[in-house]
Amino acid sequence: MSDTVTTPPRRKHYLNVDYGIKSWLLTQDHKRIAILYLISITFFFIIGGVMAALIRVELATPLGDLVEADTYNRLFTAHGVLMVFLFLIPSIPAVLGNFLIPLMIGAKDLAFPKLNLGSWYVYNLGALLMVAALLRGGTDTGWTFYTPYSSTFADSEVILTALGAFVVGFSSIMTGLNFIVTIHRMRAPGLTWFRLPLFVWAHYGTSLIQVLGTPVVAIAILLVAAERLLHIGIFDPALGGDPVLFQHLFWFYSHPAVYIMILPSMGVISELIAAFSRKRIFGYKFVAFSSLAIAVLGFLVWGHHLFVSSQSIYAGLIFSVLSMLVAVPSAVKVFNWTATLYQGSISWQTPMIYALGFIGLFVIGGLTGTMLATLGIDMHVHDTYFVVAHFHYIMVGGAIMGYLGGLHFWWPKITGRMYSVFWSKIAAGLIFVGFNLTFFPQFLLGYMGMPRRYHAYPEEFQILNVLSSAGATILGLGYLLPLIYLFWSMRYGERAGDNPWGAYGLEWETSSPPPTLNFDEPPVVTTEAYDYLSLREKKLA
């Protein structure tokens, strides 16, 4: 690893402290576990991405002519299941959160290192079950597993896939539990709650959701499996059950799960905007508390997925107004980020491009979300491509932009190397353009009435679908580039300093890559969060 620059004296850090497969597979170091997660989720992101590509190729023509209808159904199910459970939910928490939270709070590790490693194995066990389901032909229920289709009618590997989601859920609970305890009990001296980086606040909110929501979907999945396996009636009306009860249990978790994906991303964006404006985030406390508000309110809005499901009108009214409320803390974040830019010292580095792109895409995703929460509009666009476009703006435009922005920001800390600035900016641009081209036409398609999960569609929808597929090509290229240049940088990249961006934060005070126990000297915090004035003084001194 040392052939580019003149070799400095070899410093021990978490990457070179030990070699060999065993030192990785049995590691308890949160940084190494983060790398393990990074490898796993990248693998499933690629598989899920290939499936998305197949879906878009199929939809380029109105007659389902590339694959059979049944195959198509299995494709979009696998795409949804892999992307949600194996990529998006663990992405930022299990990779960036895992790597950074102990560093940011000045701890040597997470509170439960063995549990952390265990969560990675549990994740892979669940993933293995899902892969087994795929190899046996896949599942055709959609990632939502709606009953009674999933519990009685579907003729595919429902139980294996559901069991996979069940098991992966436990890894998510383990991560959340670990973060909560770590943030409560492992902070460095002087690091009070209101000195915490907003990334940590966002993860605290995320962890609450993981801990409170995941068990409920676990039991719902277990009940579907029981109904399917033992033919006892829980959800199938033919057996005396209530199919809508499943939808309630499912969305009680799966709506907050959207916040599991977007909250950490918001945390990343707060860090990026502070670092590349060299300025304390405007309204720090409001941004911090908005994370908690989103986490709490997120649990009260699940019924907005059931506006046309035979739920009573009154329930619809309540869930609609609560959904409007949850939009406010999101809006507060956006306005505070924008205000932070005012009189900042703004540097157009690659991570900042992702952050600014995130704001734009998240605003579109959020506003269309409030449209969907409006009863009179949802009635028309529910279960159409409008919904597909909306949640991709949140999950891809929001969560993945944040993830990539964060990965580019902390990459020099993680690997000690710098990637190609030129290529990274090209990739960011491609992703932004490709993403909008892919998903913006889907809003129009949705309002025109194209339902989601359609293998074939009427001809008049073709032009917009072709546009969307073309955009997906650009988007795919955009995702391919970082894979190449980041990998390349690990060997050939320039050595990055300890703090290449001149950013504030404990993680930038230790060396890159950090030593196994994170800090040579246990840190003591004496300044407020994002105190760039003190950072500059320290440098001058």
């Binding site: 492992m186 409170l212 409920v216 249990l249």
Partner: protein, 220 residues
């Protein structure tokens, strides 16, 4: 790894003090129990939804349960919580043999509970009250009664699974205690499994009235 040698025995490398380690361990256990509450909460929700729709059939169903065995089991489980609490006390005061003895008593009572549960389950098998193709109920309430037994088996089954896991962990803790792994400063494992055991006990305290008692006053 650097720095570990300076650490006291039993203190993990990433903690600064026993206090920190203990507080982390307790908080972790409590958070875990919160996830357990949410897990059972899903089933309780299903129970509330279906009971509100077919209360009469549920009352009939609860008449089919053996209230004597159910009451004995409640007493057994509360007794096991007492022995568990005594085991924790023994750990706090550093009585090695007492820890082992009280944990063994807890295991014994837990085993007794499961044994009685097996007797109850097998009676249901004989009476064709187990949901599925073999379920048989004479009369128009059949669908509601079957739903009652669906939930009965799911809820008590999940509870029993928690008991089995708890007994397994208790066995390990008993062995560790015998080897003298715990001290008054460091016995987080005993405290943790204690919290877990009390939680499982409390779940039963809710299950017993919901399944055995509610509706029993109604003549069928």
């Amino acid at each position: 790894m650097q720095g570990e040698s300076s650490h006291a025995f039993g203190l993990a490398h990433h903690f600064d003090s026993f206090d920190q380690q203990r507080e982390a361990s307790y908080l972790g256990m409590w958070v875990f129990l919160v996830t357990e509450i949410m897990f059972f909460g899903g089933l309780f929700t299903a129970y509330v939804v279906y009971r509100s729709g077919q209360g009469a059939a549920f009352a009939i169903g609860s008449h089919e349960l053996d209230i004597v065995l159910g009451s004995i089991n409640t007493a057994v489980l509360i007794g096991s919580s007492l022995t568990m609490a005594l085991a924790v006390w023994a750990a706090q005061t550093g009585r090695r043999k007492a820890i082992v003895a009280f944990i063994l008593a807890t295991i014994l009572l837990g085993g007794l509970f499961l044994g009685i549960k097996v007797v109850e389950y097998s009676a249901k098998f004989e009476h064709h009250l187990v949901p599925g193709p073999n379920f048989h109920w004479q009369g128009p309430e059949a669908p509601g009664v079957e739903m009652f037994f669906n939930l009965y088996f799911l809820m008590t089954g999940l509870h029993a699974a928690h008991m089995v896991i708890g007994i397994g962990i208790l066995l390990v803790v008993a062995i560790l205690a015998w080897r003298g792994s715990f001290s008054p400063e460091n016995h987080n494992l005993v405290e943790g499994i204690g919290l877990y055991w009390h939680f499982v006990d409390i779940v039963w305290i809710f299950l017993f009235p919901l399944l055995y008692l509610l509706g029993r006053n109604i003549q069928v």
